[in-house]
């Protein structure tokens, strides 16, 4: 009876092992060089200007959230655009308009709440 749980045990080991691997591997394989450049702030390959310990405007946060919503929207629109020609009728267009419209309402909400008014 007990050996039947071997599968369960295996899954447990594999899923736990995956997490442990993913967290310990970087320690093992990352380059160990330590110099001035390793300690520099990474800023998309650009030299950062001044210190990074500065206060950001809170509007960045809301801005990022709204950006995220539209980023996801674009990601979902790509497959719809690819499959558009293979589905006849205007049904797909209506669905896309609905989808964009619903996210557009979020934008409308943010707009009305003054997220884009920077003060």
């Amino acid at each position: 009876m007990l050996e039947q749980y071997f599968t369960v045990f295996c899954f447990l080991i594999v899923s736990a092992g995956f997490v442990i691997m993913a967290t310990t591997m970087p320690y093992l394989v990352n380059p160990k060089t330590k110099n001035h450049k390793t300690r520099m702030t990474y800023e998309s390959g650009e030299y950062s200007l001044g210190t990074t310990w500065v206060q950001f405007h809170i509007a960045y946060y809301l801005f990022a959230l709204i950006f995220l919503a539209f980023d996801v929207e674009v990601a979902f629109l790509f497959p719809a655009a690819l499959a558009y020609n293979s589905i006849p009728g205007l049904g797909v267009l209506v669905e896309i308009v609905l989808f964009v419209g619903i996210l557009g309402m979020a934008l409308h909400y943010a707009w009305r709440k003054g997220v884009f008014t920077w003060r």
């Binding site: 039947q4 749980y5 599968t7 369960v8 899954f11 899923s15 619903i102 309402m105 979020a106 409308h108 909400y109 707009w111 009305r112 709440k113």
Partner: protein, 471 residues
Amino acid sequence: MNHWFLLSPELLIAVSSFLFLYLSSHTKNGKRDFTLALLVSLGAVVLSVMTLDSEGSLFSGTYKINFFSQIFKLILSLGLFLLVWLSRNLSDLDERVGTEYFYFLFSATLGFLLLPSCSEFITLFVALELSSIALYILIPLRKGDGIDAEAGIKYLLMSAAATAVFLYGASLLYGMVKTTDLTVAATLLSQGGLSPLAYVALFLTSVAFFFKLAVVPFHFWAPDVYQSANNQVTALIATLSKVVAVAILLRFLPMGEGSAKLVFILTLLAIFSLLIGNLAAIWQQDAKRLLAYSSVAQAGYLLIGFVALSDEGYRAVFYYVSTYLFATIAVFHVITKLSQDGRNLKLNDFIGLSQRSPLLALTLLLSLFSLAGIPPLVGFAAKWFVFTAAVEQGHVLLVLFAFIMSVVSLYYYLTLIKKAYVDKSDQPLTALSLTWDEQLVSIGLILFLVLFGIFPGWILNLGDKVARAIG
């Protein structure tokens, strides 16, 4: 039948929630929002009655309409109607978020309405998240100190963890049956009994719903969230969320019929829920914290119906949860009326209620008696059916334990009733006058609690149909 008509309750709620989102970015008008919400939820009740007997399969078989899903939709929309009615006085919400409250209330309910119909893991997950995310925002919506945010974050983190466990279980199930279709998965899994991996996967997928039911050990969020969320949101979590969790468990757990191990796990969960829920409730001074622990205990009784894993058990569970919904709403009706400014009530705030408003005190008395399981109320019949179903399957000791625990639960329910009826106040009492609709709802709920307790046959017949329609 026309597909749009089959979906009409969900569509109505979806469209109205977008309407609330639109309205929330324009002028605020509490009266208008409330009236609109009340009309829409009434419309949802009517539409779910009209679609009650329809059958269908939508969206390439991922969404099933049958008696099982439609009866739960009817119960949920009735619950929504009463919840909206309870929201007529949102005094502890910031006026600026009054319309957003209805938006999130309706989108949470949309998730709840979708859940019983989902016959596929991905759809189920999306609907579950829709309801959960709306709840994450509703809980800390209350105006005031930081404790609301604390409860909101607690609920968010624990719910996210429960959802992760659900996904892990679902991935194991998918690995075994190579399909995300629940019905196909159920038939494939039960061929020749469940494998050990299938038990584990089944249990893990159920965890997200045990979490919603606040079964021990997934109950840690309940007291804090009940205490911190405003009264109406607590009522939402205490009623609709539980009904949906039971609906999904009614579809999952029958897959493990005839397996001793699942029965063992469910028995353990039931015992600990009964023990911890009932004993912790005794110490509570805050009425909503008391209700939170009482709901943990009630989840224990519900699990006893699941332990039976028989059609009688499912029927009893259906009867239990559909009556529990109305008994709990009756308690919250009293709480929202009594707490005009929306603050949390201490047990001592109930002192002298019988003189301030006899009808409200009677509603409280009967609903608490019903939760405690005193004849001839619905709560007694519910416990009776659950216990007989379990005894028929030979779980006598468990039922005996539950019986003893229900005697323990009498203590804290009666404490509240004693405050309302017996204790003398040292301050002068002010009369609470009920408006006509408050009287109507009180009387309606009282009639429900008494009549369906004496004549349980009608709901029980519905339960029979539900048990047959599972799967």
